[in-house]
């Protein structure tokens, strides 16, 4: 049905020549796109496998409903200066689940996990469609106080990082979407929240000072994960609970733990202060109190064994894994800054760092009383994480004489305090010495992009290196070509390079976890 709607809409726009009938500016704006993305996986040079044909419709509405204190031009709201409504709908149909190409997909150990053809009709139906009101919120700007409120289903993004995240944690990620080829605003799970920003302006020697805070009154869920073969780009393993027809003893894996989605049981809050210091350094101080989403690359424990023997045995008899899904509350303090150094380097430098209190790790010192070699309890530890980066527009006139190359490099680190030797990761602990929990994890990224032909050709290359885990690497490129202002063709490839030729469970899932997942992409977009 969605495909028919998408085709119908695209025919409508094509048949009218342009979308000029839609208001592009003024108080009421409608815009959107229809997009078809096809992925081919090529684990080696001889093998190509069709794994995705995602057709997406996005519809966006912007409505300036309050202007100069008047609602819809009539009703006086003298305490408000402006108000805007924003709605974004996303509908998806992935034909790969109907075409159902055969051929096995493989897990990280190169073991077959089945194919899309093996999925039941129910499972396929659940995977191929999405019908989602992504965002729906109202912005209210007050007249006499420097306050802006955003109320509704939204994304909140703090911090300075690209590609990976630390302070960007108000919204968990939907990792059943492709991690490499999707933009972050498609990966985040928008949540119903209240956000307020109070602009102070000058505070002593600080300029542009503001405080921003949000409250999520219960609409929170952990990162959404998928397994093989349902999600060919999800976790590179079969569902570990397949042997337990009734799931977990408590909670649902990667969906919800032992809590209710109510303000009393599931509220999340965050607050930050931002200002520009004399000399031009912009900094933020951040604090969060929220459940652990598990999507920042940390090799944390999403589950813990039931340590009470009676409870564990009862669960097993009911066909449940004697485990509970956990998403504990974690305090996080963070700091970020940026500085534009124009004299010597002409570069912007970025820094971000957080301290997490009490992240759960699987601890083999706490074995399950009934499955002691397979399941364990957890121990909480603090973590220090950070990133330092630069952005530099750089002229390389021999390659492009009209636009600079935007070059950005980042170095990330994670440090686990008081690591115990009994900590292990989560991916098949039966493989010795492969799923280590280390004191230090690190990764470097580099991205270069430029613009040709008046903005109609945009090539990008990117590279990632994990110096801790066998120097595994990622390399990729994309090329966007704007055939017209409305029709965009994107082609691209990514290559995951596992230097050691063996599985490696690195934190950020580049060459190790994703080995054998090199892919090529073709994406067509019609935007209006």
């Amino acid at each position: 049905m969605l495909r028919r709607i998408a085709c119908g809409l695209s025919l409508l726009f094509v048949s009218t020549g342009t979308a000029s009938a839609l208001p592009a500016y003024g108080p009421f704006q409608v815009s959107g796109n229809v997009q078809s993305q096809t992925l081919l996986r090529h684990p080696d040079i001889d093998t190509f496998k069709f794994i995705q044909n995602r057709n997406t419709l996005r519809l966006r509405l912007d409505y300036r409903m309050i202007d100069k204190g008047k609602l819809a031009g009539y009703l006086d709201l003298p305490w408000l200066a402006a108000g805007n409504l924003y709605v974004l709908y996303r509908g998806v149909y992935d034909s790969a689940y109907d075409i159902a190409p055969g051929g096995n997909l493989y897990d990280i150990l190169r073991q077959p996990t089945g194919s899309l053809d093996d999925l039941s009709a129910d499972t396929g139906r659940g995977r191929k469609y999405e019908n989602d009101l992504r965002e729906a919120y109202v912005d209210l700007e007050f007249r006499d106080v420097p306050l802006i409120l955003r109320l509704g289903k939204q994304q909140i993004v703090w911090g300075e990082t690209d590609s990976f995240r630390m302070l960007d944690r108000a919204n968990p990620l939907d990792l059943t979407w492709h991690q490499v080829y999707e933009s972050w605003d498609d990966l985040r799970l928008p949540l119903w929240m209240v956000k307020g920003l109070w602009h102070f302006g000058q505070v002593g020697p600080l300029s542009d000072a503001f405080v921003e805070a949000y409250w999520n009154p219960g609409d929170w869920r952990p990162a959404k994960q998928g397994f093989m073969p349902d999600n060919p780009w999800g976790i590179p393993a079969s569902n570990p609970l397949a042997a337990f027809p009734n799931g977990l003893y408590k909670g649902r894996l990667f969906i919800q733990g032992d809590y209710h989605r109510t303000p009393g049981d599931n509220s999340q809050v965050g607050v930050r202060f931002s200002a520009v210091a004399p000399g031009g350094v912009q900094f933020t101080l951040n604090y969060f109190y929220q459940r652990w989403a598990g999507d920042d690359g940390t090799n944390y424990a999403p589950t813990r064994a039931i340590l009470d023997p009676t409870e564990a045995t009862d669960a097993l008899l009911r066909g449940q894994a004697p485990l509970e899904f956990i998403a504990p509350y974690v305090h996080t303090a963070g700091f970020s800054l940026n500085y534009s150094e124009e004299e010597y380097t002409q570069a912007v430098f970025r820094l971000e760092t957080v301290y997490d209190f009490g992240v759960p790790f699987t601890d083999t010192a706490k074995p399950s009383p009934i499955l002691p070699g397979l399941l364990w309890g957890v121990t909480k530890r603090d973590m220090w994480k950070g990133m330092i980066a630069f952005d530099r527009p750089t002229w390389i006139r021999s390659l492009n004489r009209t636009s600079t190359f935007f070059i950005t490099g980042q170095f990330f680190w994670h440090y686990l305090l008081d690591r115990e030797p009994t900590f292990i990761g989560n991916v098949d602990p039966s493989i010795p010495s492969r799923d280590n929990i280390r004191h230090w994890e690190a990764i470097c990224t580099l991205l270069v992009s430029t613009i040709y032909a008046g903005g109609s050709i945009v090539p990008t290359v990117q590279y990632g290196l994990d110096p801790v885990n066998s120097f595994n690497m990622y390399a990729g490129w994309t090329l966007d070509y704007f055939l017209t202002n409305r029709i965009i063709i994107r082609v691209g490839q990514n290559y995951f390079l596992a230097a050691a030729g063996a599985p490696a469970f690195e934190s950020w899932s580049i060459g190790g976890l994703n080995r054998g997942r090199s892919e090529s992409l073709v994406r067509l977009t019609y935007q209006f």
Partner: protein, 440 residues
Amino acid sequence: MQVGTMTRLGPAQSACGGWRVWSTPLRLISACFLLAAAASVSAVEPGEVITAANAERIADQVSPGVMWCIQHGMNLTVAPYKKIELPKAYVTATEQYSGQVHLSKDGTNLEGYVAGEPFPTIDPSDPAAAIKIMWNYYYRPYYSDDYLWRNFLADTGPLAETGLTIERRYLIQQNARLFFNGRLYVDPKPELPNPQKLRFKELTGPVLEPLDLKGVGQLGYRYLDPGEADDTWLYLPTLRRVRRVSSAQRSDSVFGQDIDADSYAGYSGSIAWGTWRFLGEKTMLGVFHARHSPVQWCPGAGDFAFCDDWEPRKVYVVEGASSLPQYAYSKRVLYIDQETMWVLYMDAYDRAGNLWKTLINQWRSVDRPSSNPSVTVYPDEQLFNPSFIMVDIQLQHATRSWTPTEHSPTGEEEFFNVGSEKTGIRESHFAIGYLTGSSR
């Protein structure tokens, strides 16, 4: 008026209509040549249409870049000169404060400046003539308190026989500036509370079209201290956050267009970020009383450019070379109208010294933006900018930008010094917090 001295408060047509003052023998030789060429000025009569076929008739009255555009399809109609009276508040401030203004010792800044024109009298033999003209340009009239250009379109693409082939079209909600010093109309004046020592803040965006850039917005700060670089923040919808960006590469193309940050209006950088050379004064053709708003593009191959009435204007010709690192251009030549101090056109040269790009402005000196009864009527004429074009002569590629468009309900898309009540854009909007809190 003394010999060899030009006075802007009492503008008069040059006796010879061509170059007036040169300070070196070499320039005198050039001046003689150009004076001879200038004799052809009288041969062009108001009402005459200039096309590629007869472009040579005005070869000495337009820049090389404009000449290239005419030869590639741009047409113009010669119109009689019309005097432009500057806003009274600006003239009064000039009379009140200019006597106390002088250049700093290194020439890179002004001392004693309050408002109005810093140097109403320019002596061409003054070694500092060029920098004084540029400071006059920096504090030119009309842009004194605040400014808003909204709902503007920008097309970019290659030139072809059939006209501009549009590769990308951008629709941007607004470009707004708030000036902190030199204010003449809106309280507090002449200066806003200014702990950051700012010249202005600028808010551009959000982009309304195309969808892949919808929501992009930019905030920029320009400081009074010319030794301080601009600060720039960009909201990127795909990131959903505000990002600090380097403002060092001011000659970099904007969204891949032919225009760059420094070339808006002719030159948009700080005066201290380059060296300036006074080439003399001349009478050139330029558009200051545009007949068409919305703009009327030339027919056929010339539709990358506006077709309008071009009148003889007395200009300062100033050459500038940027001192910023890795700058794209070796120099730019500005043709600055002596009455208004706004640029008719600007030619930019590549690092090998060859003509690369040209920017041409369409100005319209009127007291109201249209005849619609609901629009703002100003007590003085303002200089509206229905369009400008930037042409990459070497790549034969152009960007044209304009407002109002044919969709504008009243034709009013520009506002001068009217304050926040009229525009709805408040001082608190020029802030990182606003960009962060309101962008989507």
